[in-house]
């Protein structure tokens, strides 16, 4: 892909350096956020499995639930 670089405006010096430093920090936050999401996902999976037996509806297989709903109608 060809990228047209037309930054005809002055990008500044101090402001550009400051933006780069913040970008590095936010980039680190990006990985933290991803890791947190991954950990939460793992816990949800584990937690979700352990909750299923206590949920009476969840114990019924999907097809049976559909059939039960159809019967009610």
């Amino acid at each position: 892909m060809t990228i047209l670089i037309l930054a005809y405006i002055d990008p500044g010096m101090g402001a550009l350096l400051w933006q780069t430093i913040i970008a590095a920090f936010v980039g680190f936050l990006f990985y933290l956020k991803k890791t947190r999401r991954w950990i939460v996902g793992v816990f949800r999976k584990m937690f979700g499995r352990s909750q299923k037996p206590s949920d009476p509806v969840a114990e019924i297989p999907a097809k049976e639930t559909m059939k039960a709903k159809a019967d009610v109608r």
């Binding site: 990228i3 990008p11 500044g12 101090g14 400051w18």
Partner: protein, 482 residues
């Protein structure tokens, strides 16, 4: 030459005004990208919301017809193989040196919203200056349609960030903290304030306030540490992870939005003139008579475009807008213009408030004085009606402008109607301004005023405001439109 000199900074093309049309000449290599941008969700949504200038490509015949105009040939030759697009015309162009801070804030908000929306479509905003924005009434419209380029998805840096800080955030900060008028910033500096300029204004403690630290102090300290020839700073830092680059940019835009919002001008700013409507010298019957007189003149002449000169908080601008006119309301007080902007937005009126001193109007600015025409260049012949209410004593006494000059200015600006309020030298406000120089205006009375009007205007009717030393005049311009 085209009627307004073309913009020339962007190598991708230029824009100029010709015979009342706004034309954009796009360089051959930029056409495809420009057309792709116009098809994005971002462009379509903002055009539908009237926040982005609507644009169409001229067909070959239309472009060929333009090429026949000798004034446009140099522009065509500068863009060989290029294409011509036409933009909708925004009624009265205005510039950041004429805006109250509220309007600069609104232009900044629109710029950031567009930059964020374009990001989702794979485009980046390549410059971030208030000159990309004009106002239709009180609503900002992004007009520099060529400011978007396809961005490298791995680039986490927004190059115009520094320009956004210089032209939006630092002027708003300097205005809020030290009351520095935007006219003083933008009349002399096209590209706003450098962090180093603002750093010099800051006291030792101020340099460490959170806003100043991030916008002013740290960039200033960093630029001092970096060598002026260090080109490495400007090299692109591309990331292999494009999701990460997008996350960094989104976070930058959110941060800029928060900073911009923290600099939003206060809603009820006070100034010498902002309370005029509550403290003026009219009693209720006099004010009602004045209001009725103006309303009748507006009903009779039905002006499509009105200039309210010395608009104060915009009471009479609102009357004109409610009568169906497109109004430009000018006042030298930025707090008044800001209050009009707030009111106009709330009541959805078609009023463009500007900070302009008629005795010292905005000059032509930019390269060869051709980039921003002067206020009077734009105003001459641009209005069907002019309101000069409670104004002439300020021009006569404070500014020492002769009466005939004031009437000639009104004659140049209006094509038809002038509603003017004559204020007798015996008036309390007039006397407050003369400060012992009464002899300068000793001969001024309604007879002299009416004689001064005669070469330029026909007196349609006049009315003495009860209990005051003031008289309203409804005048019709002589000799047709200017």
């Amino acid at each position: 030459m085209p009627q307004s000199a073309p913009s020339f900074r962007d190598p991708a093309g230029c824009c100029c005004s010709f015979n009342g049309r706004v034309l954009r000449f796009v360089a051959a290599e930029a056409i495809s990208e420009f057309e792709q941008f116009l098809q994005t969700n971002c462009a379509r949504q903002f055009i539908a919301r009237k926040q982005f200038v609507s644009t169409r490509r001229l067909n070959e015949n239309e472009a060929a017809a333009l090429l026949e105009s000798p004034e446009l040939q140099p522009v065509f030759h500068a863009q060989p193989g290029g294409a011509v697009f036409e933009h909708e015309r925004i009624p009265f162009p205005s510039y950041p040196h004429e805006w109250p801070p509220e309007m600069l804030w609104a232009a900044g908000r629109l710029t950031l919203e567009l930059a964020q929306a374009a990001l989702a479509d794979g485009f980046g905003l390549k410059d971030a200056t208030p000159r990309n924005v004009l106002f239709r009434g009180s609503e900002p419209v992004f007009i520099d349609a060529l400011s978007f380029e396809r961005r490298n998805p791995g680039d986490p840096i927004w190059k115009p960030h520094a320009q956004f800080v210089r032209t939006f955030l630092l002027p708003l900060l300097a205005n809020r903290r030290w009351g520095l008028p935007l006219a003083e910033i933008f009349t002399t500096r096209r590209d706003g304030l450098e962090p180093e300029d603002v750093y010099r204004f800051c006291g030792p403690l101020e340099k460490f306030k959170p806003q100043t630290l991030s916008l002013v102090s740290i960039p200033t300290w960093l630029s001092r540490r970096a060598g002026p020839d260090d080109q490495k700073i400007y090299q692109p830092h591309l990331l292999a992870n494009t999701e990460k680059a997008q996350f960094i940019l989104e976070s930058l835009f959110k941060r800029l939005e928060r900073t911009l919002d923290s600099l939003k001008p206060a809603a009820q700013k006070k100034s010498v003139w902002s309370d005029y409507m509550a403290t003026h010298s009219y009693d209720d019957p006099a004010f009602a008579a004045k209001e009725k007189f103006v309303s009748e003149a507006l009903r009779e002449f039905k002006p499509a475009r009105v200039l309210d000169a010395g608009a104060n908080t915009g009471h009479f601008s609102a009357l004109a807008a409610q009568a169906g006119a497109e109004v430009v309301a000018v006042d030298l007080d930025a707090a008044c213009a800001g209050a009009i902007w707030q009111r106009t937005r709330e009541q959805k009126l078609n009023i463009l408030p500007l900070v302009v001193n008629l005795a010292h109007p905005s000059p032509a600015l930019g390269w060869r004085n051709g980039e921003c025409p002067s206020f009077l260049d734009r105003a001459t012949g641009a209005f069907d009606g002019v309101l000069m209410l409670a104004l002439i004593h300020h021009l006569l006494v404070t500014e020492r402008i002769p009466l005939e000059e004031i009437l000639r200015l009104a004659y140049d600006v209006t094509n038809s109607l002038l509603v003017i309020e004559f204020i007798d030298p015996k008036d309390e406000m007039f006397r407050r301004l003369t400060r012992g120089r009464e002899e300068l205006h000793a001969t001024l009375d309604t007879t002299m005023f009416e004689q001064a009007c005669t070469p330029y205007f026909e007196i349609v009717r006049s009315l003495a405001l009860p209990g005051t030393q003031r008289r309203m005049y409804c005048l019709k311009r002589k000799g047709g439109a200017s």
